[in-house]
Symmetry: D2
Subunit: 369 residues, 4 copies
């Protein structure tokens, strides 16, 4: 695992640029004979896509092709390549040498010495997450068939909080599963529709202010067997965090009660073990379903901090790194005032990828059959 | 990279159990000819060790041996094995089937089916971090010689806050380097000694209450070249977070302003680029020195949430997982009421490991010479 | 590195099936700013392609597209995806349940339980090597610019031997470089044209006999710096052999004098070191330029045994693995009576891939600039 | 997988030098609850050890310690460290700057710039294989319990040939299993004791001539399920060859009929599939039990070319690489005139390592239970 390839038993490789021929993903090590549901993949890509009032008007249509690894509607077991050609792109909006604040233009220049494709952020564009979402479009239904449900809501955005996810206390995850299923269908991922509307209004206000906002995404994974993950370096937390920090704009990841745990005392933070109907569960889930890096059978929960979109319409201070000169500038073109609500489908996809890998490592190559 | 091995160009493998023959580390891929300073390794191991009023009285002496890879006081370039034999251990304090809340006993049982060494947490014990700290004892001075300084303070503990690290605004990291150097020498890692004393008092109070506390560690890495790390899966954030979540008790990791960024607007979160003495820097460092997963030349900063020590003297509810029966129990033996201040040296070591790997990947095998 | 991904600093991922939408390769970790010469890639793909009298008349045209990672004719440094769509394919020639002897039909069935794409060998088809050759089409010129030349000849085929490669004794590799350059241009890769003609005649005779032949490929890599490779598991021999055994039909790999060395005495097998013009060289090169897994500066030489093409027109005994019944059958369709001469360009490409990876590991990410 | 770590689901890391504190191995990912039979490990280490008339008189006693990962005589499932301290070593026999022909002294110098431990070959010493053999001492019995038998004989040495291994034609591997079991017990690994005596005589003659000999080892693995291995880069052939080329002195690896296949026609090389007692087998086994990189259920067979021991007592030509001067010299000290017969136990161990990894990848973490 390294660079643009992630995973052990299941290896995900991504490629593409914002304004190149396309973006895509290679999924290697998948259980053979798994359904590939084109409708569901389209649905997921649609949720990722900028659309509606609060997103850029840039038209991204996401037709995709299974170049390999899919035969008669099922995975073959060999490497799957999903390709998503790029459509409408406006390269004239970008200059190669002005570092957009909060973007990778300058760090990319330091790494690639000017050879990088600078158009629209090139390989650093959020557009590349379409490949991850397409991969998730195969993995998420496969996990669901094994009783594993993944879902993410926008817990907080622009000063507005959503209702909390049901904690699945004492092992009864029925209500939580319902919430996750619901979120999978919602275009704007809040449990409380009123909160969602207030968030949308606040996002639109930010846009009118030529500015942008961020948010906090909260995710739960229900139905994982206990005993997944490794002690030390391949803790499930480490693997999830590694993959989650790939998603553009994510600057923090916490499991269970996370940073709030650092303020608790041990007697509060420790989740008491209990027996419910011959099953060992915990009475609380401050540890987010993971002890010592390994699942304990409770829902795995985590939260991701998404920074505000760096592309804003306000004038900003920056430099031209070819001239090494300061420069004030304005980003033209169409940009999202918030990506947090769209990022949730990327978070789900990335979580599915890590969880599927952990299952295949533990139970072998046919684990998802 | 997987399981107990981490890294790409520099591979770190750890092994050991709390009450077995010993713990240790194999460091593979190190630049040849690098000084191995036994004094410094001892110093680091000493900082990790429980000692003084606020730690367990269990006596851990940490003599270590370079089994391989060190010749005439320098690294050979081939795999270095550092072995730390275990000394005084009291196995009678542990039972195999009672799940200590907040510990890995139950999740380990689910993974290893009873074959795990349960004594003192076995392979899940914080004792295994001694191997990481020993590895750091070689890496940290090597990085320092290349102008790279790493340091961590206890930013918050038991309701008490330390002074902030100097932000190195506009690229002048002199004051920050001084702070990091100072922290490396302090037994209790706060910038403000008064805050440190108040934290110690609060930790001792927790102990008197048969309870424990956690904390937040804040780290800075100064002197990294711009252009380190990879886009997407091997972002420096992803690699650091992956390794940091290995450390027992860490439940959250955030870079730069982290979760606080999710409450900002883009105009506040974006770090404006500026030119100071022909060097491109940022006026603020909300992004923690990383854009698009790649260093931009500013200090890399992150914060780790450390949960309160799960071993507390209070009676707790739990289960016997062999009998599948609920049981109230009390942990006997000696335990730390706080590990956050000791964990900081593990954080430094793990950060050194990731950063050294990134340098070796970018500049090749002799990068640390 | 695992499954369909190979390499450490340079990672190559392949995908595709014989009768699917296409085949391709993702190249990750390449030095940025390297020329991508479309003409040369076409030339290499042409040499791999079945053509002329002694190959199948199946028409494979190999138009390819750089989906990502190439910008303004140069590598960007981010992941390069080269896609080669499939053209004319005749799926009617294949049945899903009859195990062609010497092919992977049965072993694939045991692994993929019937989900595999069985048409034309699916993912096991030699067609997938087009992706490797396309990758080599970028790597080989980049290595050449660093003074590294790779070439392969058909040392033996159908009872006919080619002239030997010049041994580059005592470090003078001028003649050997000339031979390698020559081979790169020849459609049929022998040094002795007469031997080449006799091989072609023997291959055609095999075809008339409804049979096939194999051969031995001999490769030299000139210009590698001393000190490449690792002791033990990542010996250059181990890395090369790992990759070479991916090529369909290769059943043996030997370095230097190889199996013949097992018949020598030490006094003959040991290559005496000498000094020529202040450069340390060896007087002979029985060890194929590698001692202890690491290059010594002499040409790296190896030989690959290529088995005869398993697809022959003769009637063969086999089984139907769905019915578990014996069955005599005849392979219809067009098939090569020999693939050894075409495989040489795959060998060159795979060797380039391993060598480039070793250089990037040793000298860092910009090693090929 | 890279450098001194090998494997995917099962990761093996080796360390040590000939004249350092010791050598050892870390085995990570092993199924928990597997017996660790100290007697068997001793037996294997004994077979590796130089002893008797035809080996160096250097006394290597191999006491070993399970530092971690073994509890109450069984594997815990966490990383196992086996440490073999070095005993009697005579460092005075070595000089740092004279390149012994056929050894890694010069290539190591080019890689490590003089920092390498040069005493007795340091990290390049055959002594490091003791760690591999110790690992094999755990893996081989675990595989045997799953019906998988591995064995190697010295097929040819110093002009003398052993009897062939029974080909297991048509799937009846009873006779072959008997041969492999027998070889596991023999100190000198030939099927024909007379051939063994002639080999020993020829080896002793080489020693009297101040010279050395090599040999060819032939291995069979019986009882593997069909469907192990991957197409392309992780073909079982590629994985085995990668690991086998780590063993010092191995310069060629061929599977099944190997190089001899390159002289056959397809009609001879193709193994016809047949049905015997409802089991699909092949009538011949030219492909060595592997088609398309994946096992077909027949015995996996391969041969390794072992070069003659480079350390010989004859005067040799070489250079001093510090002075860059030619020099004639004689190796003093005690050295084996042949290592091929001892290497077979290393080959068995390495094969066990690759096969166990393939099983764990395919069937999951508990595959060896």
């Amino acid at each position: 695992m390294a660079k643009n390839t992630f995973g052990n038993a299941l290896k995900i490789t991504i490629f593409g640029e914002s304004h190149g021929a396309g973006v895509g993903v290679v999924i290697d090590g998948m259980t053979p004979g798994i359904d590939v549901d084109a409708e569901f993949i389209n649905h997921q890509l649609e949720l990722r896509r900028p659309s509606g009032r609060i997103s850029t008007t840039r038209r991204e249509s996401d037709p995709w092709q299974a170049v390999s690894g899919v035969f008669e509607g099922k995975t073959t077991g060999t490497s799957i390549c999903l390709l998503i050609p790029n459509g409408d792109t406006r390269s004239r909006d970008y200059t190669p040498s002005v570092a957009r604040p909060g973007h990778a233009d300058f760090s990319a220049q330091c790494k690639y010495h000017g050879a990088q494709d600078y158009r629209g952020g090139g390989h650093f564009s959020g557009r590349i997450t379409a490949g991850l979402v397409a991969a998730g479009g195969i993995l998420i239904p496969a996990l669901r068939k094994k009783g594993i449900e993944i879902g993410t809501h926008l817990a907080r955005c622009a000063g507005v909080s959503d209702l909390p996810l049901d904690g699945a206390a004492m092992g009864d995850d029925h209500a939580l599963r319902e919430q996750l299923r619901l979120l999978g269908e919602r275009a704007f991922p809040t449990l409380d529709s009123g909160a969602g509307e207030r968030m949308v209004a606040a996002i639109e206000q930010a846009k009118m202010d030529a500015d942008s906002v961020g948010g906090v995404l909260e995710t739960a994974i229900v139905g994982l067997p206990a005993g997944l993950g490794e002690p030390w370096f391949d803790s499930l937390e480490g693997q999830l965090a590694h993959a989650l920090f790939s998603i553009p704009g994510i600057k923090g990841v916490e499991f269970g009660a996370g940073f709030a745990m650092s303020e608790m005392r041990g007697s509060e933070a420790n989740d008491p073990f209990r027996v419910i109907e011959d099953r060992i569960v915990t009475a609380t889930n401050r540890n987010g379903g993971i002890n010592g890096g390994i699942t304990n059978g409770m829902p795995v929960t985590f939260r991701c901090a998404v920074k505000p979109t760096p592309s804003i319409a306000k004038e900003q201070q920056t430099v031209d790194f070819y001239k090494c000169e300061e420069q004030d500038f304005v980003i033209h073109g169409r940009h999202d005032p918030c990506i947090a609500h769209r990022a949730r489908i990327v978070v789900d996809s990335v979580a599915a990828m890590v969880v599927a890998d952990a299952l295949l490592q533990r139970y072998g190559n046919d684990a998802l059959a």
